[in-house]
């Protein structure tokens, strides 16, 4: 190496070309927004073109870029075609995301533009995951994440910076510090002036440059890139930029003054062009031609955008989940059964998946030690610390790592210890994982599994005992699996790992160490198929997870009294096998739904709403729901025992639906 690389004529002209394309594109978008040809929330990056061009211009197509809400420039500089971007902003089928994502959610996967996000700081964990995938593949790919100074005050930033440093990932944090977080000056957000100072304790190289001085950005980034390319840990480049426009188009900016004078000094395009003229890299004719070419290309993009039709509305329903392809995940091998437990079943399924597919990795707190329940015991020994990764207590970032790694082609299984703490990762799960396939118009897939545990009974109180799965079923784009037996756990975990969508796999602590006989290598079970655990004619009991065994207890007691209950375990909540449930209720005319979550707002309401619709004319009694009372989980044993629904409540509900209209002559129907 002969010293740091310097910007030369060729590179400067390439930068100017890109910057003109961004500038002309965005100025046109501002006009189109006023005429409503472009709609929605539009955040322009005028003033920041130099950073986009200098950073993305040095990357390869297989390097990944993650951006935030001010993303047009990054997408253009990374190679997304102007006409496809313009069509996207017009909501057309020809858009990069088929008109579904819009300005805040641009994706152009074929050139490594992996996505923009509308949640400030929400992209940082995803970029970590992408960098982890590159690292595990042993490639020299580099990931770049753009963010504004406002994101630095978000928790995701700190979690992500820590993980990047800890794992020495090939990730470059590029902060565009424009001095405003949305509408508020940086001084009102933080006493720390430089973003590069915030990351100082993590010990990686960092630099602050004038973002209007494009050669300085280009040279500083060249330096970062060489280091990251060589696999030597993360870097942070802070670029002090000037935001020419408001936070969004339409922002009146009553909180700002003196923009014109400052723009005179800080327009990166004018400055680079002046420098290029001064150095003789181009003459004024060539300079004008660069602008004219860009304008012409934008004209053409607008024409093509206008000509593109709006997407077929029904596409919205089709893009919620990625289609399942390929062969079933595991092959049944004989019918050797052995005594096992839920924990061993999960452990075995993880080990088999990791043996069969090296893209499968396991992440989570204490997973390399096996975790407190031994669900991951022995995996680190067999597969090594690279694929079985302990994480800090950073649920948000860890979930984001799994999403980013999944988008980059791995099949991560992430454990969030206790569903109570999934609340800390909900933005990543709901706003990123569940929506990525949809918002990218099908370009991205998130084949990840998030394992978590719910359930009461361990005297752990209101923050370690909840059953929150119903929330997740309200989120389009997630699948939710909730097995009640070791055999189903093993089979469904294998299916979940093979699924191209994010799957939340909800385990129950109270089921972990129950002994049962199960096949050593289970036959595959598709997601969305209920199991009729016990046939019966008089009533249908739908029970999930821990309540299944309780329901079976109640059914045995009812049977002794001459009432035969059909017991169904849905096994997966999304998609729900409504057909099997409705078919049963149409036969029995009576239904009880049992789960451990609170009755009000629990998933039973959804099942009941579906049954009353699908089996209305056959219902002979009101559907009864058995769940927890509407209160936090108590910690003291007598109260927790009273709180927790069980066989007794299922039995009482069953008697109530049987006796609703008449004293039943048992067994006589």
């Amino acid at each position: 190496m002969s010293g740091p690389p310097r910007l030369d004529r060729e590179a400067a002209l390439a930068l100017l070309r890109t910057m003109w394309r961004i500038r002309c594109f965005e100025e046109r978008v501002a006009k189109l927004k006023r005429s409503l040809l472009v709609h929605g929330l539009i955040h322009l990056s005028i003033g920041g073109e130099g950073v986009a061009a200098a950073v993305c211009g040095q990357l390869r197509d297989d390097d990944a870029v993650y951006s935030g809400h001010r993303a047009h420039g990054h997408a253009i500089a990374k190679g997304a075609p102007l006409e496809r971007l313009m069509a996207e902003l017009m909501g057309r089928d020809g858009g990069v995301c088929r008109g579904i994502g819009g300005s805040m959610h641009l994706v152009w996967r074929e050139r490594g533009f992996m996505g923009a996000t509308g949640v400030v700081g929400g992209n940082l964990p995803l970029a970590l995951g992408d960098a982890l995938a590159a690292h595990l593949r042993g490639s020299d790919q580099v990931t770049v994440v753009f963010f504004g100074d406002g994101a630095v005050q978000a928790g995701h930033f700190h979690e992500s910076v820590n993980l990047a440093a800890l794992w020495e990932l090939p990730l470059i944090f590029v902060c565009e510090n424009n001095g405003f977080a949305e509408f508020t000056p940086r001084s009102a957000h933080t006493p720390v002036e430089r973003v590069s100072d915030v990351v100082a304790p993590y010990g990686f190289e960092r630099e602050t440059v004038d973002g209007s001085d494009v050669p300085a950005v280009w040279e500083a980034f060249a330096d970062c890139l060489a280091v990251a390319r060589a696999g030597r840990g993360p870097r942070l480049l802070e670029c002090l930029t000037y935001r020419r426009r408001g936070h969004y188009e339409g922002d009146q900016q009553s909180y700002r003054t003196g923009q014109e004078e400052e723009w005179e000094r800080r327009d990166p395009l004018a400055r680079l062009q002046a420098l290029a003229l001064e150095r003789g890299w181009l003459d004024s004719d060539t300079a004008h031609k660069l602008e004219r070419d860009a304008l012409h290309e934008v004209d053409r993009a607008v024409e093509l955008g206008r000509a593109s039709p709006f997407p077929e509305p029904s596409l919205a329903g089709q893009l919620v989940l990625a289609p399942i392809g390929g062969k079933p995940p595991s092959t049944p091998r004989g019918s050797i059964t052995a005594e096992t437990t839920f924990v061993k079943a999960v452990n075995g399924a993880l080990a088999r998946a990791m043996r069969a597919d090296e893209r499968v990795i396991v992440l989570g707190e204490d997973v390399a030690e096996g975790g407190p329940y031994t669900t991951t015991a022995g995996l680190a020994e067999e597969f090594g610390a690279e694929r079985v990764r302990n994480t800090p207590i950073s649920e948000g970032a860890v979930c984001g790592v799994a999403i980013g790694a999944a988008q980059a082609g791995l099949r991560p299984v992430v454990e969030i210890m206790f569903i109570d703490f999934l609340t800390l990762a909900l933005d990543q799960l709901v706003n990123q994982a569940a929506k990525a396939h949809f918002m990218s118009g099908g370009q991205l897939c998130v084949p990840m599994v998030l394992r978590t545990q719910g359930g009461s009974g361990s005297r752990s109180g209101a923050q370690h005992s909840q059953s929150l799965e119903a929330w997740l079923t309200h989120v389009p784009g997630l699948k939710v699996v909730m097995p009640s037996s070791a055999a189903d756990a093993a089979a469904l975990l294998a299916t979940a790992i093979a699924d191209p969508n994010p799957v939340v796999f909800v385990e129950n602590k109270a089921l972990y160490f129950r002994r049962e006989l199960a096949p050593e290598e289970p036959a595959p079970v598709p997601i969305g198929q209920a199991r009729v655990v016990r046939p019966g004619r008089e009533l249908t009991i739908v029970a999930t997870s821990w309540l299944l065994a309780e329901a079976l207890d109640a059914a045995r007691r009812l049977s002794a009294e001459g009432i035969e209950a059909e017991v169904i375990d849905p096994r997966t909540l999304i998609p729900l096998d409504s057909a099997t449930i409705a078919h049963s209720v149409r036969r029995t005319g009576r239904a009880v739904i049992a789960h451990e979550a609170v009755t009000i707002g629990g998933f039973g309401a959804e099942i009941a709403a579906q049954i009353q619709d699908l089996a209305f004319d056959c219902l002979e009694a009101p559907i009864q729901r058995v769940g927890a009372p509407f209160m936090p989980v108590p910690v003291t044993p007598p109260l927790e025992d009273a709180y927790r629904p069980g066989a007794e409540q299922v039995y009482a509900a069953a008697r109530a639906v049987i006796e609703w209209d008449q004293p039943v002559e048992v067994g006589a129907r």
Binding site: G118, A154, G601, A608, Q612
Partner: protein, 326 residues
């Protein structure tokens, strides 16, 4: 005296009045009071009106702590979806302390957030996530549909001794309505029968109330007399008013702007199917958004969201429905 003011002005008026009435009321959030001319800042000063960084977890957590210490914070969150960043504080902290302390402490705070959608806000700024909070014991949920309710429910929320999630719809922001001047309180847990009718009950929340009323008017020209009920708060939920109505009409259509699966309307459907079983003459129908993220493209947005025609269609279905075949 009532006069017409926009929905958002009604909310601001309630916060303003409560801050004047009770100095323990604090107001903070992102981008709040970005200029010195801000009316709250001028009236109550920078100690009580605070701009915060983009740190939702700390904002809500700080409010919980301040409430525990005797204050009555109102947190401005702008967009409901960003509550997901701080869901731990909303679910594991705010509604838990009173219970976990055996009733020794209380957490009077208001989390104020916009929801719904407005053209082109796409997938991450449109979340109608209020239904998720129905399963959280200890939280109250207000969902005003009119300017008057917005004022009255906000004032009640601030005076409540518990954490309240107050959701206002983006598209109602500038909607004017008659609002009483001065102190005005709307109690929680009291539904409003917005239109009386005997043929079918329509329960709608937030922005959907106006749509339901429009649909009801057009149905009345066909001789169908719909009763329209706005629960106004989802927790507590005034189920009695809904059940009484269904006992009269025998038919129920639920209108909810959120995605259907495990929605607030599913919760109501399950309750009514149980409590009004004998009165129901047709299956309860839900008119909700398609189970999909809100798309950016305008024609798709219309396809995904519920509207007057879909409401009227569901009413026809429950009125005309022969028992559903297997």
């Amino acid at each position: 005296m009532a006069r017409e003011i926009p929905y958002i002005a009604a909310i601001n008026e309630a916060i303003h009045l409560e801050m004047a009435r009770d100095e323990r009321v604090l107001y903070f959030g992102q981008n709040l009071a970005t200029t010195e001319n801000d009316e709250f800042l001028k009236a109550f000063g920078a100690d009580r009106v605070r701009v915060t960084p983009i740190s939702e977890t700390a904002e809500i957590g700080m409010a919980v702590g301040a409430a525990l210490a005797g204050m009555r914070p109102v947190v401005e969150l702008y967009m409901a979806e960003f509550m997901l960043v701080a869901m731990d504080q909303v679910v594991n902290e705010a509604p838990r302390f009173r219970y976990m302390s055996g009733g020794k402490v209380k957490v009077p705070l208001v989390l104020k957030a916009g929801y719904g959608f407005t053209a082109g806000w796409a997938g991450q700024h449109t979340g109608s996530i209020y239904g998720m909070f129905m399963g959280v014991p200890g939280l109250k949920i207000a969902l005003p549909a009119t300017a008057a309710d917005a004022k009255g429910l906000m004032a009640s929320a601030i005076r409540d001794e518990n954490p309240v999630c107050f959701f206002h719809h983006y598209l109602l922001t500038l909607e004017p309505g008659e609002v009483p001047e001065g102190e005005y309180l709307v109690p929680f847990g009291q539904a409003d029968v917005r239109r009386a009718g005997g043929d079918v009950t329509i329960v709608a929340t937030g922005w959907m109330v106006g749509k339901a009323l429009t649909a009801a008017e057009s149905l009345s020209s066909e001789g169908i007399d719909a009763e329209v009920i706005d629960p106004r708060t989802l927790a507590p939920l005034d189920l009695a008013t809904i059940v009484t109505s269904v006992e009269k009409t025998g038919r129920l259509v639920l209108v909810d702007q959120a995605t259907r699966h495990a929605s607030a309307s599913a919760v109501i459907a399950a309750e009514v199917a149980d409590q009004a079983f004998s009165a129901l003459r047709a299956p309860i129908k839900q008119v909700t958004a398609l189970d999909a993220t809100v798309p950016y493209s305008e024609p798709m947005e219309a396809f995904v969201l519920p509207d007057e025609a879909k409401i009227a269609g569901a009413v026809h279905q429950v009125l005309g429905s022969a028992p559903v075949a297997a």
